[in-house]
């Protein structure tokens, strides 16, 4: 064996050295860094997984449509969200009246009819998607941040800290989330998007905390964590840079499965009158409103209900497929 390993990258005379030889060969074979980085592999796997699964394609398409609708609501909705027309109009009917204020009679088409205030239902549902998406994303982001922090700290330090944090999580887990959320709304006082986000977000913390703690318990025993400690890495850096990135797959899956739950929770709170302000267009409020007129105007509650159903179903299908793609075990993420 030659002694020039530190420099032999520059000499290819070392014929007895397969490792070295391979290295030199590689250097010439692929001048540019190899394509098959791990991340790229994961992306390709996810793409292939989704494309090979019809339910996943449906889910992904509907999710994209939902996000698109929420983002461009003012352009998609035919009318302003507060505009009023004839009340309780059937689907595919017309309101007649001077709605533009120019003295002429306008004929306005309502594809899904109007509600008891005379709002165009399709417009309300399109704007409602905004609230749903906003609430879902911020709620999950909130629950993720707090829950992950709890799970990381509990799993990494163990001992008394773990006991305390996880007993709190157990307590919260045993408590029905909708009641917890309702109680929090009462405690925070008043209606509004922020309060809804906090209330639902708090109720979802336990799911993330449990998931992340479980991951941390196994990852912290890995040798690369020991190696990080050997070079003097601080606990915080070990948690965020060494452990968390290795738990990212189940966390993403959990997030996609929590979004529909958040949408339902928001709708439920609004339905109970504990959600956003009554004038805000949300699916839950529309549903609650339509309940009183279910005999005369079925469409007021049926269409928002369908919207909720389709979006929730789409997220679940998409999430399931992601879970398969990431190869996360079913038991690892919790579905309520």
């Amino acid at each position: 064996m030659s002694n020039d390993h530190t420099t032999s990258g520059r000499s290819d005379s070392d014929a007895l050295d397969p490792d070295e030889r391979e290295r030199i060969a590689r250097r010439y074979r692929d001048e540019s860094p190899v394509e098959s980085t791990e991340n790229r592999g994961v992306y390709r796997r996810i793409r292939d997984q989704i494309l090979s699964d019809k339910k996943a394609i449906f889910g992904a398409t509907m999710v994209l449509l939902f996000v698109f609708t929420a983002m461009f609501a003012p352009m998609i909705a035919p009318y302003e969200q507060d505009e009023t027309f004839g009340i309780n109009q059937e689907p595919n009917s017309y309101s007649e009246g001077d709605y533009t204020g120019n003295g002429e009679i306008d004929r306005v088409w309502h594809v899904l009819g109007t509600d008891s205030f005379g709002h165009d239902l399709f417009t309300r549902i399109v704007f409602g998607a905004r609230i749903s998406l906003l609430v879902a994303l911020t709620t999950v982001a909130f629950a993720f941040t707090v829950g992950t922090a709890i799970g990381l700290i509990a799993g990494y330090y163990g001992g008394l800290i773990d006991e305390l944090l996880m007993r709190y999580v157990d307590f919260q887990w045993a408590f029905p989330s909708i009641i917890l959320a309702a109680g929090l709304i009462a405690f925070l006082g008043g209606l509004g998007v922020t309060n809804v986000v906090i209330a639902i977000g708090v109720a979802f913390i336990d799911d993330f905390a449990r998931l992340v703690r479980g991951e941390v318990l196994s990852i912290r025993e890995e040798e690369y964590v020991l190696a990080a400690r050997a070079i003097g890495t601080s606990d915080r850096r070990i948690m965020t840079k060494e452990i968390l990135p290795n738990a990212v797959a189940p966390i993403i899956v959990q997030m996609t499965l929590m979004i529909p739950l958040a949408i339902i929770a928001e709708a439920a709170l609004s339905f109970l009158g504990l959600g956003v302000k009554p004038t805000t267009p949300t699916w839950g409020l529309l549903l609650a409103e339509g309940r009183q007129y279910i005999n005369q105007a079925w469409w007021i509650s049926v269409f928002p209900g369908l919207a909720i159903m389709v979006v929730v179903l789409a997220f679940n299908m998409f999430g399931d497929s992601l879970r398969d793609a990431f190869d996360v075990k079913q038991s690892e993420v919790s579905e309520k």
Partner: protein, 455 residues
């Protein structure tokens, strides 16, 4: 970046200038692992402890390579991790350049981590799969605030990669894209990024092909010369030891049983355990081949290590007690029978079913005879009067199912100073220390110098 503030505190002035004395020193180092893991366990009885490292002394000089050898489970990896404070020592001291570092908190330990680094057995497992090679090697530089900015650190990483024989262009790749040897090079680059003076290498080549092993060992030797590295090389592979080490420590069940310079150890091993380890090294030259000494019995549990000399349950050359009238061989056969009986290694039920299958029925006498025939090495006929009967009555007690009675009979009939007294360290030569009663002239029984006669 709170890490940066912590660097360089006191290390330079305490160590670099004082060139006298060993660089790394352990004194009575102990690491016990608590096995009871709940309230209930603690209530139910005294805590059972695994004595992974139990009173280890050694010194590592400047630019010296000391190998720690032993079977798996003997505590050699734990020793390495305890020296680095990755495990809190249960007792004893660790000194780095004269400064006590044992049991320091992570924060207090930080400045010393620049001086003492580690490479691991499984190169892939020790590299974070989600980080690029660049991130992995850059981490120690960031943690210790070395380098002016990120670009400077990247430049340092590139030159480190080049020094360990990898292309600097591999910066953006992930660990799994490399071969085992290359992965270990990455691990070495990470450990050397801080330019430490002590490197603890925990079986760094045992996961690699033989040809790649040699490259990694060469790489380590090169760095040893360049940086003046001191290496503590933990391994179970004696052929590697001869190649790389200056001095060898032989470890058995948490204790160091023999320490000597490498040539001396290979030429005249003194401890029977070392002898049996060495006899298992494959040799090409038939002249050099010695009779292979196969150790019998399993490695005892470190939770409850044997009394006296910990090796006595497997030792092929146990010392007979004072006043033993028979031959040594006869005593050793009897002692082995005793140990098999004490470790509950004799399967009475199996013997019974065998007998029944052969002769229809199994009487107590027949079973006792069969036990002796089956497990007694040699023949009890060689034993002096009285002792033969002890073997027979022990076998009978065993056949009757009275294990305790059998155990007490053999314990009384065949005592050995090896199981009664803990051997002290004996200096065979100025730098050759052994813990074995056979080399201790003051020990009782019938000690005899190894190699002098029948051994």
């Amino acid at each position: 970046m709170s890490e940066t503030d912590m660097t360089d505190v006191g290390v330079e002035d305490t160590d670099r200038n004082s060139s006298e004395g060993p660089l790394l020193q352990a004194d009575g180092l102990k690491k016990y692992f608590d096995q009871s893991d709940g309230m209930l366990d603690r209530l139910l009885g005294p805590a059972s402890k695994v004595k992974a490292v139990d009173g280890v002394d050694f010194e590592l000089g400047r630019q010296e390579t000391v190998a720690v050898v032993g079977e798996s489970g003997c505590g050699k990896s734990t020793l390495g991790k305890t020296l680095l404070n990755l495990h809190d020592p249960t007792g004893g001291e660790v000194r780095l350049g004269g400064t006590e570092i044992g049991g320091l908190s992570d924060k207090e330990m930080l400045p010393y981590r620049k001086e003492i680094q580690m490479i691991f057995q499984d190169p892939l497992a020790s590299l974070n799969p989600r980080q690029t090679v660049g991130d992995i090697i850059k981490a120690p530089l960031e943690v210790h605030g070395i380098g002016e900015d990120d670009a400077d650190r990247t430049e340092r990483v590139r030159s480190l990669l080049d020094r360990v024989g990898l292309s600097p262009d591999y910066l953006e790749r992930y660990p799994h894209q490399f071969s085992g040897g290359q992965q270990q090079r990455i691990g070495i680059a990470r450990a050397l990024a801080l330019e430490p003076r002590v490197l603890i290498a925990d079986e760094p080549v045992s996961a690699l092909d033989v040809s790649v092993q040699a490259q990694i060992l060469n790489l380590l030797s090169t760095f040893q010369e360049e940086f003046g590295l001191s290496i503590l090389f933990i391994t179970h592979d004696l052929s590697v030891v001869r190649y790389i080490a200056d001095r060898v420590l032989v470890m058995y069940l948490g204790e160091i049983v023999e320490s000597a310079p490498v040539d001396e150890l290979f030429e005249s091993p003194q401890h029977p355990y070392t002898q049996s380890l060495l006899s298992s090294v494959p040799r090409i030259d038939p002249e050099e081949r010695s009779d292979r000494i196969t150790l019998r019995g399993v490695v005892p549990s470190p939770m409850d290590p044997p009394s006296g000399c910990r090796f006595h349950t497997r030792c092929p050359v146990v010392i007979p007690p004072e006043g033993w009238s028979g031959t040594k061989e006869a005593f050793r056969s009897a002692f082995r029978f005793r140990n098999q009986l004490l470790s509950e290694d004799i399967d009475i039920e199996n013997i019974e079913t065998h007998l029944e299958a052969r002769s229809g029925r199994a009487t107590t006498e027949a079973v006792a005879e069969e036990v002796i025939a089956d497990t007694y090495p040699g023949s009890p006929e060689d034993l002096p009067g009285g002792k033969r009967e002890a073997i027979e009555s022990a076998a009978t007690a065993l056949a009757k199912g009275d294990d305790e009675e059998a155990a007490s009979i053999v314990s009384e009939a065949f005592p050995s100073p090896c199981e009664r007294r803990t051997p002290t360290e004996h200096r065979h030569a100025s730098d050759h220390a052994v813990r074995c009663h056979r080399l201790d002239p003051s020990a009782p029984g019938q000690p005899r110098r190894i190699g002098a006669d029948d051994d």
